[in-house]
């Protein structure tokens, strides 16, 4: 694209100007000659500046993209490279824990190495207050306006906005949207519809929780509130005392032998389902997809307490030293990630809902997405939309009392 923007004859003009300055330089010596040199230089300089502005990046930019794994379209960024006329993507796979993400930006590669970082959203508070990300100018993203999910689910003033915005400004581009609950093996448990199943003594020793106080903790709080076993104000933002109550409950269950284990990775959770090591497990939906593909009948529950909604956000790393060309390439990448092909690929590979164009793109390009895949993408998209319709609570990734959360969770694990 950049090459096409530059008319063929412009370079010739430039070299003519260049030639002109050479001639002027040859006349150096006389003051008139010198003034002409300065004039020629100015003209030449303006010409260069103009040509730079018109043609965009002369050299190809490589956008450094730190990603927790979900955002990798199988290594294929060719469509982005084609669309931007040569810009490439260097994807760096990082761990998904807040410590890994925050410390890799604060210390590790730092803000000077990475241009974009794609993680589970809701982390704006620590990221912004540590000066690690900058607001996104959505006007530079043509696909933003086309993404109706953003308008629908992530409106300013709603808890969804907290996944991409902070202090009224938008910081993250929502690349993935999803709702969490839990999974179970129906042949062993029959249909289940409440988070209470995770704590049901019937399945003692056959339950696993996620090692994450913002998901498992919040689900427990939702259940305790709905079943009136504890007085909890906002399950998404517990006070230290409320969190203590939740953890006391969990410790009691742990001591009874309710939990087989507390998992901390995708691979572990999938294994627990596929090997039928547990019957009820607090997990993410893609794990159920994998289990089903391996022939294990697992169901992702629709709990009456509601789903836990979340979104992945791609943030622009705050780097005042970044060149405008690189920033442009980064914005192009953000826009690309809101596009149809990327959305369809990620939905297919990872099992999450991405953007509204994804199912349509998949259907319209049977060469890239065979009918079965397109159907699957549409089904996943519809499934997640249904979850949003059924309603739920937005996950709170950085609660006000997050220190208390962490200390209490440590107490749960050490018990």
């Amino acid at each position: 694209m950049a090459v096409c923007l530059q008319p063929a004859g412009y370079r010739d003009t430039l070299s003519a100007e260049g030639q002109q300055t050479l001639e002027e330089r040859a006349m150096a010596g006389s003051s008139i000659g010198r003034r002409k040199i300065v004039q020629a230089a100015l003209y030449g300089g303006t010409g260069l500046a103009l040509s730079g502005a018109l043609s965009g990046a002369w050299a190809a930019e490589q956008v450094s993209f730190a990603d927790i794994g979900v955002g990798d379209p199988g290594g294929d960024w060719s469509r982005y490279t084609k669309a931007t006329g040569g810009d490439t993507v260097n994807l760096v796979s990082i761990g998904n824990a807040p410590s890994a993400i925050l410390n890799v930006l604060i210390a590790g590669g730092g803000t000077k190495t990475y241009d974009l970082i794609n993680i589970v959203g809701g982390m704006q508070k620590p990221l912004v207050e540590n000066g690690l990300i900058e607001p996104i100018d959505t006007a530079r993203l043509p696909n933003w306006a086309k993404d109706s999910y953003i308008a629908q689910y992530l409106k300013p003033g709603t808890p969804g906005f907290d996944f991409i915005g902070y202090d009224g400004k938008i910081y993250g581009v929502p690349t993935v949207l999803q709702g969490d609950s839990f999974a179970y093996l129906p042949e062993a448990t029959g249909p289940l519809d409440s988070y209470g199943a995770l704590f049901d003594a019937k399945w003692k020793g056959y339950v696993a929780l996620e090692d994450n106080y913002t998901t498992a903790g919040q689900k427990t709080a939702l259940y305790l509130k709905a079943s009136k076993q504890a007085s909890i104000g906002d399950p998404a933002n517990l006070t230290p005392a409320e969190m203590k109550t939740v953890v006391d409950f969990l410790i009691a269950k742990k001591k009874e032998g309710q939990f087989r284990t507390i998992w901390s990775s995708f691979e572990q959770a999938v294994n627990l389902i596929v090997s039928k090591e547990v019957k009820v497990i607090d997990c993410w939906e893609p794990m159920v997809f994998v289990a089903k593909s391996k022939g294990v009948d697992a169901v992702y529950a629709a709990p009456k307490e509601g789903y836990l909604l979340w979104a992945m956000a791609a943030y622009l790393v705050k780097n005042p030293g970044r060149s405008p060309a690189r920033t442009k390439a980064a914005y192009a990448l953000l826009d690309f990630m809101l596009g149809g092909w990327y959305g369809a690929t990620i939905t297919d590979l990872r099992g999450y809902m991405t953007n509204p164009e994804a199912p349509a793109y998949a259907r319209q390009h049977p060469g890239e997405f065979p009918a079965a895949k397109a159907e699957r993408i549409a089904a996943i998209d519809a499934g997640v939309k249904k979850k949003f319709q059924q309603g739920g609570t937005w996950q709170q990734r950085w609660p006000t009392a997050v220190d208390a959360y962490e200390a209490e969770w440590a107490r749960f694990k050490a018990a």
Binding site: P98, S99, D211, E406, A410, A414
Partner: protein
């Protein structure tokens, strides 16, 4: 002329020998001191401010996180002891009962599994030991059990198994080297003097191999204590060692607490090293080296 020459030679040599010390001093000691200092600093929002407060240490010692330290020390000691009980006989066997080339092959075989990523290997164990995994299936077919054995996985047994299998091979090699370097004439002298094989072993072989045993203990203990993967993959609900606990505090950017916990770990390890220094005369460890006078 030759005196100056000599002095230059000595200084170059000292400079060269000081290289690793300088390397460690710059890239390790300096960051370490900095991180120890942070353990005393104060948290202000997300930042840390220089101060001298014992809040972080108080929080660590007054909380359940201390249990993690205790458990770590105990399980690391157990794993190291088991590892040593396995590694020493293996090394002994390879040195005294097996040809050199066969020993080299076996040693290579012990290191091969480490080419497979550690996470993958540990995760493999969690599948092997699961309720529906091959081990339980084998036990069921042989009729030894009627139901899947639960304690094979997500238990202290699994953690010990994971730690021992990951550190024991590291322990074999230094003991092997120490035994290989043993002067056989000393053993022969012992036999000639009428000592039984067991006595010869206890009085001659074992003391002379202490340098290797020391290295093996260091490898084993630090490897087991510092393991972050085995506890969360093979351990019971919430099982964690110090590495996991520190990562958890970093999740909320609690730098002083994580620094305090790291400092405690380093202090404990240094204490153990000090005990060794005191209990064992460096002479027996460094052996003939201490006769070096140049």
């Amino acid at each position: 002329m030759s005196r100056a020459h000599e002095r230059v030679a000595v200084w170059t040599r000292h400079g060269l020998l000081a290289l690793p010390i300088a390397f460690v001093a710059v890239f390790l000691v300096a960051p370490l001191l900095f991180s120890i200092a942070i353990g005393f600093w104060q948290r202000v929002g997300f930042r840390v401010q220089p101060a001298f407060r014992l809040d972080a240490y108080a929080e660590f010692f007054g909380s359940v996180r201390l249990l993690v330290l205790e458990r770590g020390l105990i399980v690391a000691a157990e794993a190291t002891a088991i590892g040593l009980l396995l590694a020493y006989p293996v090394a002994y066997f390879l040195v005294f009962r097996v040809t050199r080339s066969a020993a080299r092959v076996v040693l290579a075989l012990f290191t091969l599994p480490f080419l497979v990523n550690y996470i993958i290997r540990t995760f493999s164990w969690s599948w092997l030991l699961s309720r529906t995994g091959p081990v339980n299936k084998a036990l069921a077919t042989t009729g030894l059990t009627h139901a899947p054995v639960d304690w094979l996985l997500y238990s202290d047994f699994a953690v010990l198994l994971g730690l021992v299998t990951s550190t024991m091979p590291f322990m074999i090699f230094p003991i092997y080297l120490a035994l290989m370097g043993l002067d056989r004439r000393l053993l022969e002298a012992s036999w000639t003097l009428g000592a039984s094989p067991a006595r010869s072993f206890l009085r001659v072989t074992l003391p002379l191999s202490l340098s290797g045993v020391f290295a093996a203990l260091v490898f084993g203990f630090t490897g087991a204590f510092g393991d972050s993967a085995v506890p969360i993959i093979l351990g019971g609900p919430g099982y964690q060692l110090m590495g996991n606990a520190i990562t958890s505090t970093l999740d909320v950017l609690n730098y002083p607490l994580s620094a305090a916990m790291s400092s405690v770990v380093v202090a404990v390890m240094l204490l153990l090293l000090l005990c060794w220094y005191l209990a064992f005369d460096l002479q027996s460890f460094l052996g003939k080296m201490l006769r070096w006078r140049f």
